[in-house]
């Protein structure tokens, strides 16, 4: 039973078509990634889900409710972290969380949430004095303080250093483990690969792929590459005869075999049969990055 259903969503701003035709369904308890190049319509899509924008066409259903008609109910049950949303400079961490907690019927305990997000020694610090990572964690805390069933997080780790980014990822996994469904808008492939159970790739206002990160990679960019130094000369034909192999190249003493499927098993088996040892063997698989390029024709912004 999906908790979010978007069907043939359309949204334009004047002449600009932001979302052309987006359909997707998010299942309870998953981390669902929304990926795409800048301006692809990711944010507009989740803003329609969050009830912040009125779609021009198509349907959106969240927890079986209409984001516009049932806005009051959904605001109690859906937490939203918006892109580039700040707080007043002089507002302190605990004050912000206590204020936002007071808006909800069944809020989380602000003090507990502060500790959980590692802001315990910053509770009396003004927003202005927080680091980028701390601001981001506070922002996530504000999205979670209402004990939501769904959390929508837009550009979660943009502007964070690698360590802060990794910490944030760990946090999001904890939140998911506590039963919250998470919709994550991102343009970091590494983030999607690490966190998301499924991802929708949106390009020019349309969903161009929807699968698990691994599934996406294996269907869109299935090519694998094996590099090794053979202990004895290898006849190319030995390798090219394998159904999994699509090409063999040599660079110096190194052999590079490209192919799909159970490539590693096929190659190592045939080498073993001929008593050839593959030294310095490395398997290179496509990443979500490659799949993304394949799907959208863009390099992911990094």
């Amino acid at each position: 039973m999906p908790v979010i259903e978007v069907t043939h969503l359309k949204k334009r701003y004047g002449d600009l078509v932001a979302v052309d035709d987006v359909s997707l369904a998010v299942e309870a308890g998953e981390i669902f990634g929304v990926l795409g190049p800048n301006g692809a319509g990711k944010t507009t899509t989740v803003e329609c889900v969050a009830g912040l924008r009125v779609p021009d066409g198509g349907g959106v259903s969240v927890l079986g409710l209409d984001p516009r008609r049932d806005a009051a109910q959904l605001r109690q049950r859906v937490g939203v972290q918006l892109q580039e949303s700040q707080l007043p400079d002089r507002l302190r961490v605990a004050e912000a969380l206590e204020l936002y907690a007071s808006f909800y019927r069944n809020p989380a305990d602000p003090a507990e949430l502060i500790d959980k997000l590692g802001l315990g020694d910053k509770r009396n610090t003004a927003y202005k004095k927080l680091s980028g990572g701390q601001k981001q964690r506070l922002s996530i805390a504000l999205a979670l303080v209402g004990n939501p069933e769904i959390a929508i997080l837009d550009e979660l780790t943009t502007g964070l250093d690698p360590q802060a980014r990794r910490d944030t990822w760990g946090l999001i996994e904890q939140v998911r483990d506590s039963g919250v469904t998470i919709v994550l808008v991102t343009h970091f492939m590494e983030e999607a690969e690490r966190l998301c159970d499924r991802v929708a790739v949106i390009d020019r206002g349309r969903v161009v792929a929807l699968d698990s990160p691994a599934g996406l990679v294996s269907t869109v960019a299935p090519e694998q590459r094996i590099r090794f130094r053979p202990s004895a000369p290898v006849d190319d034909r030995l390798l090219t005869d394998l159904p999994e192999v699509s090409g063999v190249q040599r660079t110096g003493s190194q052999v590079v075999v490209t192919g799909t499927g159970e490539l590693l098993h096929a190659v190592t088996s045939v080498l073993a049969r001929h008593q050839i040892v593959a030294a310095d063997l490395r398997l290179e698989q496509s990443t979500l990055d490659d799949a993304f390029v394949e799907l959208t024709g863009h390099r992911p912004a990094n």
């Binding site: 969050a50 912040l52 009051a72 605001r75 109690q76 859906v78 937490g79 939203v80 918006l82 580039e84 949303s85 700040q86 707080l87 007043p88 002089r90 507002l91 004050e95 204020l99 936002y100 007071s102 808006f103 909800y104 504000l142 209402g146």
Partner: protein
Amino acid sequence: MHAFRNILRTEARLYLRDLPTLLTTIGLPTVILVVLGLVPSLRKPDPTFDGQTFVSYFAPSLLVVTLAMVGVNTLPSVLATYRERGVLRRLATTPAHPAALLAAQLVLALAGILASALLLILVARLAFGVPFPRHPLGFTLAFILGTAALLSLGLLVAAVARTTKAAQALAVPLFLVTMFFGGVYLPRFLLPDVVARIGDYTPPGVQALLDAWTGTSPQPLHLAIMAVIAVAAGVGAARLFRWE
């Protein structure tokens, strides 16, 4: 209502935390009054001002200082900043409505204006013998309408300005004009008559304040114009205001 109360409490805390702004807002007119009041000749009755002292004559113009500062400067800047930084937008995703934040800001603006006016009137009375407003009802009415007109203009600025910079670009000239016509830069008797007359009708309507302070009831036309400006600007702001 519950959310509004909590937002108001938090905003009040932030307001009190910004001590320099708070002191300027509430204290500046009184400081100017005290400085002028220290000059002996300005405390002597003068036929130019129908036998009043210059200090008495100038006090209503000093009311304009805080009204202009808060109404067309601080209020729109704060609201534009909140919008630009996504504070209003974030609030829109919660069960609280961003209008609660706007309302809280209006309450604080009014509180600041009121505190500043009371301090000015009190110090003028106690230190320089300027009588309390002699037409209290007329003075209250003129003050309320003038304040409403300026706050509405401030909201209109916040509504049409997309960014904090744009809000300031609109607010600063409006502030200067308000101060000029309110007779703050140059006492009104030094202004060309036509300018002074225009100043009767520009918010907050300093002539009505002066009339009521010194004893005659304010002219209905002056008050009516302030009411019209307040309503027109208020309606315009309500229609044009964007939360993001």
